[in-house]
């Protein structure tokens, strides 16, 4: 193992995540993993890692670390200023750091979670096949016991380092994928999280709610027709009860037919359960594996990653579509992200950055 970084300040909450530990729900263990799986994947690809290497999930930024060895790092996810010894480097790109240099990730201008990948990956004990931190279950993460990162933690690459096997995507398609993922997140959150938008929503004037596509069911028949119309027609506001387990929304009550109890059953990804108060709760990667409230709908896979970046106060609209249409949307987005697109030029701190470069024909 080679020590690459020392955590100086983990910010509000930072922890190791990979793509999670699917397959253990039958034993009571949720999948965990990066809430924005595509952003972690892209950070890894930009850093030259396999897609599923462990990275650092940084919640609301304000993270600093000291480089202990020459290293290549990459960020993706929320749009946050990244500096190396005070010099700005582009977010959503690879950069290098030398021993002694301070890498800092500031508060995001939009989004919530930044993913930091380290070339070679991050060493951690694998619990049920994954390094993902599951704090409530006290498993995974830097110590195998579910601990979040704290000041003084050493981030090391495993021995041998995680490396990209022979059959990797060419660099241009990595950046095309980054451009597509960034463009989608930017389109959703840049306006929603701008200071002007915050003022607009406090003055109760109409801004644009964030559309989240959903597939109705498995228990949409536990709701009245009016309840289903409320769910699909009204806006809901994220409360401050928002963590890796789930997102609790406020809004007009969604009406049940016969109360809010069902026989406890399995909790699918993105399940939207509605307890007796009629307010929806969207369940995320650290959700309990079973639950006893009816699930009116589940968030479409194509929009699941976006939930990682919702902030308290954000307003959403749930947009139903069929399972097959949701699947087609996911396939289309994946296909679009694998052909060269346009490089994005984005100003941050008044400096324009070309976020992703790739070969133009």
């Amino acid at each position: 193992m080679a020590n690459m970084l020392e955590v100086v300040n983990p910010g509000p909450l930072s922890m190791l995540q990979d793509l999670g530990r699917p397959g253990w729900m039958k034993y009571g263990v949720p999948p965990s993993g990066a809430l924005d799986q595509e952003a972690l994947t892209i950070a890894n690809l930009l850093a030259g890692n396999p897609e599923g290497a462990a990275g650092i999930e940084i919640t609301y930024g304000n993270f600093t670390a000291r480089a202990l060895a020459p290293t290549v790092l990459a960020c993706a996810g929320a749009w946050a200023p990244v500096h190396v010894d005070g010099v700005s480097v582009p977010p959503w790109a690879a950069f290098s750091a030398s021993p002694g240099q301070i890498v800092s990730i500031g508060a995001p201008t939009w989004g919530v979670r930044v993913y930091l990948a380290v070339r070679g990956g991050i060493a951690a004990p694998l619990v049920m096949g994954s390094a993902s931190t599951y704090i409530r279950g006290a498993l995974g993460g830097i110590d195998g016991q579910g601990r979040a990162l704290r000041a003084g933690d050493l981030i090391a690459t495993p021995d041998p380092p995680a490396s990209v096997s022979g059959a990797t995507a060419p660099a241009c398609s990595v950046t095309a994928r980054a451009v597509a993922a960034l463009a989608k997140r930017q389109a959703v959150f840049e306006i929603a999280h701008s200071p002007e938008s915050a003022r607009a929503s406090t003055s109760a004037s109409a801004g644009c709610a964030i559309a989240v596509r959903v597939v109705m069911g498995p228990q949409d028949d536990h709701f009245t027709e009016a309840g289903r119309q409320t769910f699909a027609g009204e806006e809901f506001t994220l409360t401050n009860k928002a963590d890796r387990m789930g997102l609790r929304f406020d809004g007009p009550a969604i009406e049940h037919i016969h109360g809010a109890d069902i026989i406890s059953d399995g909790m699918p990804p993105g399940a939207i359960q509605v307890p007796g108060d009629g307010a929806p709760i969207v369940m995320l990667a650290d959700r309990q594996t079973t639950g006893g409230y009816p699930k009116i709908a589940c968030v479409a896979r194509a929009d699941l990653d976006l939930l990682a970046h919702l902030r308290p106060g954000d307003r959403v609209r749930f947009v139903p579509l069929s399972a097959q249409d949701a699947h087609e949307a996911l396939k289309q987005e994946q296909a679009a992200s694998r052909v060269p697109g346009r490089a994005l030029r984005i100003a941050i701190d008044g400096v324009e950055h070309v976020v992703a470069l790739f070969e133009l024909q």
Binding site: P22, G23, K26, P218, D265, P268, P269, T290, C298
Partner: protein, 239 residues
């Protein structure tokens, strides 16, 4: 009455999961259909299947959208369930029950079961009668959930049903056996909890570093067997 009037329902759970629901109550018969379907899916060599989660009356099957479309997954699941969810399978399941029993030694009362006397007082039984009633049935593990390795059990005698503590304990030791209303269960790991504690097992029900990471799985039958304190310690029980 034909048990299979209730054809399974296939419900979308997003675009990468399906709920296969067999009915709307809690019963050993529904559970046998759930667990038979679970086994068929787990042993069906289906590379697109990423989670199979049995619960009281349904199975959640999650698939990898990179490998299969929702409609193709639904067709495949319908085919598998149709082939195995039939009345003539039931006898086979019943015959397998005895091979499927996990024995759980329990040291009842004393420091390990601080609420045994309260349960006895609440139910009007002696502590010995509570122990006898608790260790008599063959319990069914309906499902595992809530936390790693926590079994939802069916089969407890209603005569020992006792409400939860008014104020939950901040720490319940791993292995504690408790009663909450009509349910009984075992805490796989130390956690806060309000169940009435009547004993403790020296067995380790959950170990994240083991494969499988827990002793029990849905569909198991378990029997609690009273052991004395020296036996509890000789089996590796914690103080």
């Amino acid at each position: 009455m034909n048990l299979y009037d209730d054809a399974p329902r296939f419900l979308w759970a997003g675009d990468s999961a399906v709920v296969i629901q067999f009915g709307s109550d809690i019963s050993p018969l529904l559970a046998s259909r759930v667990h038979r379907t679970t086994r068929a899916l787990e042993t069906g060599n289906l590379p697109w299947l990423v989670e199979v989660l049995p619960s009281y009356r349904s199975v959640l099957a999650e698939f990898d959208p990179r490998l299969i479309s929702p409609t193709a997954a639904l067709d495949a699941l319908r085919g598998i369930v149709k082939a195995i969810d039939a009345p003539d399978c039931l006898g086979v399941d019943e015959a397998n029950i005895e091979n499927n029993v996990v024995t759980i030694p329990v040291c009842y009362g004393g420091q390990f079961g601080p609420d045994l006397d309260d349960v006895a007082a609440h139910t009007g039984l002696s502590p010995g009668e509570v122990i006898a009633l608790h260790s008599e049935p063959l319990y069914l593990v309906y499902m595992i959930g809530f936390t790693l390795g926590f079994p939802y059990l069916g089969g407890m005698s209603p005569r020992i049903a006792t409400p939860r503590l008014a104020t939950p304990r901040t720490v319940v030791p791993a292995g504690s056996v408790g009663i909450a209303g009509n349910q009984t269960g075992v805490y796989p790991s130390a956690s806060p909890g309000g169940w009435r504690l009547i004993g403790r097992t020296p067995l380790r029900l959950a170990d994240p570093s083991a494969d499988p990471p827990c002793l029990l799985r849905a569909g198991n039958r378990i029997r609690f067997v009273p052991v004395d304190e020296p036996t509890y310690y000789s089996m590796g029980g914690d103080r």
